[in-house]
């Protein structure tokens, strides 16, 4: 089961990296006219807010997936430890009885 947690942890690392890098895809407000007046400025501000919200939604999705993968890894790790503890307990009891 060791290899399972290793691979799940690698998946967690990749997804965490995605989550962190998504906000970096925003654009400067001035590049889409958000600092201008009139219709172009109003649209630029809407487009800026829209794009930031879209990237934020993708980052949240990545964060949720990362959390699920981390929980899976933790569960497998816990199960492995419980198996090991059970093995050791039973082995000790059997040795005492012999």
């Amino acid at each position: 089961m060791e290899h399972l947690t290793e691979r799940l942890d690698r998946a967690v690392d990749i997804m965490s990296m995605m989550e962190r890098k998504l906000p970096g895809l925003t654009v400067p407000a001035a590049a889409i006219g958000a600092t201008e007046a009139g219709l172009p400025g109003r649209f630029g501000r809407e487009m800026y807010a829209h794009w930031v919200a879209v990237l934020d939604a993708r980052a949240r999705e990545a964060a949720a997936a990362t959390a699920r993968l981390a929980e899976m890894s933790a569960s497998v790790r816990t199960t492995r430890e419980q198996y090991r503890t059970t093995d050791e307990t039973v082995a000790a009891r059997l040795r005492r009885e012999i």
């Binding site: 895809l25 590049a31 889409i32 219709l39 649209f43 997936a65």
Partner: protein, 202 residues
């Protein structure tokens, strides 16, 4: 340098003159310019400068990045390990969750990689819209520069005679209509992608 930058230097004195005439004499009552002014809320000179601030290259790198991320999601999904030699109820529960998580990360329907692809499509559409808006404005300016209305505005006369007032209003209406129509298409792009602003629940 794109077509808008090329034509802007030549068009600036004419736009300045149009703004001067409209500032001094207004536009005839009932002229189409009034409706376009209500849409754009800027005089032609400022409206053209506002459009020229659009920088398509600022967003151009987003789509390839997002598509690369989508591929990474698919690889993560494909790489989620099966239980292998681990058997029993816990292993079965793990495998079930693994399969569902993989499908959530990458698949044909409402998966995270599909959402990234759709976001990349939006980035491309917005980048294209900025480039097309600049190109359309450049074409409109070129048309105006070659028009009879542009000639009518010469020589600059104060106060402007009625033919110059009408020519300025016609030029402004044509220009602002072109700009307003472009922004209307941009607004459609935003409205049609509203679903992408909400995270897809796991």
């Amino acid at each position: 340098m794109d077509r808008l930058e090329e034509v802007l230097d030549t068009a600036t004195p004419l736009l300045r003159r149009v703004d001067e005439v409209l500032g001094a004499a207004g536009a005839p009552a009932g002229h189409a310019l009034w409706a376009e002014l209500r849409r754009v809320r800027l005089l032609p000179g400022d409206a053209v400068l506002a459009v020229s601030a659009l920088t398509p290259s600022a967003l151009a790198g987003a789509a390839p990045e997002l598509r690369s991320d989508a591929r990474a999601y698919a690889e993560v999904a494909a790489g989620l390990p099966a239980p292998g030699e681990w058997t029993g109820d816990a292993a079965d529960a793990y495998d079930d969750l693994r399969r569902r998580t993989a499908a959530h990360l990458s698949g044909d329907h409402e998966s995270l990689d599909e959402r990234l692809e759709a976001t990349a499509d939006l980035a491309e559409a917005l980048t294209d819209w900025m480039a097309e808006t600049r190109a359309r404005l450049a074409a409109t300016l070129a048309e105006i520069l070659a028009s009879g209305d542009a000639l009518t505005l010469l020589p600059p006369t104060t106060p402007p005679p009625m033919p110059q007032v009408i020519a300025a209003a016609d030029i402004a209406a044509h220009l602002l209509r072109s700009i307003a129509d472009s922004y209307s298409e941009g607004t459609d792009l935003l409205h049609n992608s509203t679903s992408l602003t909400t995270p897809f629940a796991i």
